[in-house]
Symmetry: C2
Subunit: 702 residues, 2 copies
């Protein structure tokens, strides 16, 4: 072992790799350099005691052991029994009321007792979360030993993988799927364990393993055996597996003539299939369903409602602990309609009609994961339906794997917005975490950005969005700065000055991205299909609501989608207070302006600039801000490992190039309507619109 290990060391020297490939995510456990700080932790590293017959406590103990070995350089023993020694870590699942009255099921407390640090919870998985909290505090050089009490606000904290059976990932930008279906159930890729650890470290406790545009494959015995193997790996880490299902499965797999949810044979098929799944996965999490959306089958194919479909699956799930997650992402192709309103209007008559096992999963905004959207009007508008939040971690419209875009501020902006549904303080967060309507089930899902790339997420900074999603699902009151600070310390550097600088870069990154892509509340102007690069001139597509002009509504008069009345009146879906916030074009936050108003090109905005000027300034300023990010990053070289530094440096160059691309495309295109020169303080693009269009066409070539 030692010799072989030495040979690894030598070969590392040999190929002169001194670089971090990012594969360890936020669990790097590199040796702490600050001797004093390290000694303060070593004091508690004599042993780890806990009932390691429990597989989850065993994982907690192993994690602490390997964390201590890396961070502190100690060899800490694991003791399966309680101990009277001091200087160690005690893991305990406790029923002691005085201890646990402040805790919910997954919550944990950390405190000092008799010279030890105790991690206590009602549940084993709570202890595991506490162990990761302790490690995080050590990784980020915080003091340990003081009292910590932490409870998750949302019950189901979930990743949605849009991974296909053939190994591709819909909207994945980091290689192919991390799930190797052809190798399962026999081969357990070591990355499954790494994935489980990374998720448990941020409190994620659920994962749907396949694309919502779902293959029926995943419901066959052949595949259930494979999924079982994955579930067995994830279980000790507290993660339950969900399956995205194809609503047509009773026909496809069962050979039935229909998939009508009210057909007794269909109901029977789902009942039996659900029982069968539980034979493989006793703690099966449940179904995730995309139905009657973008061509997917659903209950409407048979004249039934979403509630009919969801409740049928809920009935099948009744004997078990799992749930049914039904997506609200539905919209019909109507050139005269407003996609903004469709989910609301389709689901409103069903409010109160869903089984208690059903939770309706709503995207954060009414369109589709745009860089900035107003919160979805269903939040606060549905008092008799459990609603879950669906965020997109993978950056389909947010720079994919080449733009630095830290998403916590976006998640936070949505969660913190007040719906006023039950008066002031009725934030989206409170709808989601169940506190507004006193719901016992709550769910926050993030569309995963994981792939087979060594560093999991493509852009090194994309890891931070996975991390931030998990942390916010646990505690939506955390600030995006605090989350970034944690992640930087674990993943990049613990140098205090560097941490502050990187944090500033991250906080600036989203406004910067929005500035050169979708300023002033613009949306949905990306390259058709692949969603890469700008294409504001997209006029024809398979559906009117897949064009760009449907959204920006540029004309000779002005720009923006008037949702105040007349054609759409989508604003009316919100409470009075929200309507007042966004409904008056003179008072509306400029960041949301184009979402709700069609504004004349020459209208003076609150900034003192006309719309056209403001638009140009923002597009241009976005590029300048990218150049500042480049400069900031260059200064950070001494603090970052070579591979990560080089990767981010190169990606910032790509980002600059593409920011200019977006800027030129949008400014030149809108100028055709505004018919106004670019403000004289700005240098006009050195290419014309035709040239930019040609560049975009390249990305449409097969």
């Amino acid at each position: 072992m030692k010799k072989a290990f030495l040979s690894i060391i030598f070969s590392l020297f040999a190929i002169m790799v001194f670089a971090d490939d990012g594969s360890r995510l936020w669990l790097k456990y590199d040796l702490i350099k600050d001797q004093k700080q390290k000694l303060s932790y070593i004091k508690f590293s004599k042993f780890i005691a806990g009932n390691t017959e429990n597989p989850t406590l065993q994982k907690a103990a192993e994690e602490l052991q390997s964390g201590f070995a890396g961070l502190l350089g100690t060899k800490t023993i694991i003791s399966p029994k309680s101990t009277s020694l001091s200087g160690g870590i005690i893991l305990e699942v406790s029923n002691n009321q005085s201890l646990t009255q402040s805790l919910n099921e997954d919550g944990f407390a950390i405190f000092a007792r008799n010279g030890n640090i105790v991690i206590s919870s009602k549940s084993a998985v709570g202890v595991l979360y506490g162990a990761f909290e302790l490690l995080r505090n050590i990784q980020t050089l915080q003091a340990i030993g003081q009292n910590i009490v932490s409870n998750p606000r949302v019950k189901i904290r979930m990743l949605n993988h849009w991974d296909n059976a053939n190994g591709t990932v819909e909207r994945g930008y980091a290689g192919s799927s991390m799930w190797k279906w052809n190798e399962l159930p026999f081969r357990i890729d070591p990355r499954y364990v790494a994935y489980a650890r990374a998720n448990a470290a941020i409190g994620i406790n659920a994962t749907s393993i396949n694309n919502v545009n779902a293959s029926s494959r995943f419901l066959t015995a052949e595949y259930l055996e494979k999924i079982k193997a994955v579930a067995d790996v994830l279980r000790p880490y507290g993660i339950r597996v969900f399956i995205s299902v194809n609503f047509r499965s009773p026909r496809t797999l069962g050979g039935l003539k229909t998939s009508d949810p009210l057909d007794p044979e269909v109901r029977k098929w789902w009942n039996e299939k659900t029982k069968e799944i539980h034979q493989y996965i006793p703690d099966f999490g449940g179904y995730l369903v995309k139905a009657n959306s973008e061509g997917e089958p659903g209950p409407q194919d048979y004249g039934r409602t979403h509630a009919d479909g969801a409740n049928m699956l809920a009935e099948a799930m009744k004997p078990f602990s799992g749930i049914v997650i039904w997506r609200a992402f539905v919209y019909n192709a109507d050139p005269n309609g407003d996609r903004f309103k469709e989910a609301f209007e389709q689901f409103k008559p069903l409010d109160g009609k869903f089984d208690e096992k059903v939770i309706v999963q709503v995207k954060n905004g009414p369109i589709d994961f745009m860089p900035r959207e107003p919160f979805h009007p269903m939040f606060g508008g549905f008092s008799n339906t459990k609603l879950a939040m669906e965020f997109q971690i993978t950056q389909e419209y947010l720079g994919q794997s080449t733009h630095l875009t830290y998403l916590a501020p976006m998640f936070k902006e949505c969660l913190d917005t007040d719906t006023y549904a039950k008066g002031k303080g009725s934030t989206v967060a409170k709808v989601i975490d169940g506190s507004l309507y006193n719901s016992q089930v709550s769910l926050m899902a993030g569309v995963a950005n994981t792939g087979s790339d060594a560093n999991w997420c493509g852009h090194p900074f994309n890891q931070a969005n996975w991390y931030a999603f998990g942390r916010l699902a646990w505690d939506n009151t955390l600030s995006s700065e605090k989350i970034a600070k944690e992640w930087i310390g674990m993943a990049l550097t613990n140098d205090e000055k560097a941490k502050v600088q990187i944090n500033e870069m991250m906080q600036k990154s989203l406004p910067t991205y929005i500035s050169y892509t979708y300023p002033l509340g613009l949306s949905h102007m990306m390259g058709e299909g692949h969603h890469y690069g700008p294409e504001p001139w997209l006029t024809k597509a398979a559906r009117p609501d897949w064009t760009s002009i449907y959204y920006h509504r540029a004309d000779s008069i002005g720009l923006g989608f008037d949702r105040t009345g007349k054609m759409s009146n989508a604003l009316n879906l919100y409470t009075k207070e929200v309507r007042e916030m966004w409904g008056n074009p003179d008072k509306c936050d400029l960041n949301y302006l184009m979402w709700f108003h069609h504004i004349a090109w020459n209208k003076k905005l609150s900034t003192g600039n006309t719309l056209w000027e403001e638009l140009c300034y923002r597009y241009y300023n976005g590029v300048v801000e990218v150049q500042k990010l480049q400069k900031d990053w260059t200064n950070l070289k001494p603090y970052i490992d070579t591979e990560t530094f080089g990767s981010v440096s190169a990606r910032l160059k790509i980002q600059e190039k593409e920011a200019i691309w977006w800027r030129d495309a949008c400014v030149l295109y809108f100028q055709e309507f505004a018919k106004t020169p670019i403000p004289s303080s700005l240098t006009p693009p050195n290419r014309n619109l035709e040239e930019v269009k040609k560049l975009v066409e390249i990305y449409h070539l097969r």
Copy 2:
């Protein structure tokens, strides 16, 4: 640096990774354990001297330096000047006739001189190849210092990547594309360098970077800049870049009304495009073209011939050193034809009509990379056309990433077959390497099996096929045993006993695979589209020649495709000697029987069994052989790192399951025609044909 390195070491301890992820391929450079052997190498590790102003010699020196550091634990200096010292390595590009008369351009000599080891060649890249040869000898614990002279037999030794612009890989089974187009030209993934080193180590000097089902994207300035960045990385390693082109590009990119190769505007477009490419890549290797095949555009769209198309591109390439590679993989959808003959017949009238810059690339067999095919009748049948060999390294029909299948015996079987084109000894190898027709250009291409997976190739043993391809392109006289021995020593273990056992496993692997999939010369019965698993009953497809029944021709009388006369007479494309070898069903090698004959189910074969019995025995025996491979591998545990051992063990379980799948599918299906019980010594399948069909259908679900 040191501290940070230590932290890597500690973190390696911490996460308890003691495993080899396979990313280093055959360049592991782990410390040699045999002290005596190591000392015999250290004697020559004092310095490396050579003109390091030459970038390729610089790479050779660096490779030796890092190889020595890893293998020997030495810190060897690189000296840019000649030296009078002894105990080192001298790298020299030499014009000394007595030295170099035995060498061709890329060849090298290694010999001892004045207490040093000299690596000498006419070219810098020859020295680089010599450096890798020296390292290989050290890696595999051979004596060094004795004279070695080595010359490549084929001039262009090439990988063909079927990688798409969108990051997928056609017929790729190891993640997504290794080329990160969205990151280029700015980010140079460290894997590009690793790829260059691994290829140079086996003499590969050419790579086409995109799928032959080609996107025009790769000819745009946007992408040429990206390709240039790749070419710049590969150049010092002696690797030239080729581009697969879409024949319709003059229309798609140039805006022309036609892509007719005889149209002056089209010719002008290609001339200018070719010039433009050379501004980015001065040593551009050339074009690779799939035309008028499987829906791809080509000269026949305009009533022109393959020669017209190829010669137009050759004209564009005339001012430059590159070539045009034109694929012969063409076949029309004709239910009454024989695909076996189509390429031959389409190209025969063009023999002698291709420009001297054109080389026609022919797959090893007449159909499509089946596990065993007779050699393509074009080899030996075209005396006035330069022909290149196209092998498939990626295992589309050979177990993809889950079956252990070492392909060198297949490559060898094809290369060593005698075409008798110019009398006895006119092997396929001699057609390919140019010696039979005294050609100055020669080319062997392998369709790459590389992907973004950490270990590059999926199955750890698939790496051996990439390795074997390169070695055989360099020297087609190497035995598959010698190549396997080299690879095992570099990639798995140098334990002598283990090496022998693994080599035996590898040699048995292909006959084993063929036995449970395509015994007796059967072919093309795989799952439709994805080509995974068995589907001998496939009767209808988009084209008749994409079904299975087109190939196996099972009926109540017997099995196999009669190519002796009447309907096909494809055998007539071969020389008399070959016709005699395969034309008589009583003398034909059983491994090729079904390729040429329709044999009655009850006919007694040379084995003494009827066809039906022999078929069953072979299918069953294939499964038994897989089980033996499992057992053999289990015994090798002490010699193999944990991750590789576990990965192969698990894959052998999958292989066993799938071998039974193939066996049951084929035996049950053919039994419907043979109407004969399975021989009593065999246990009949424990499922029926309908059940197996259902299993296969799963893999057709989206």
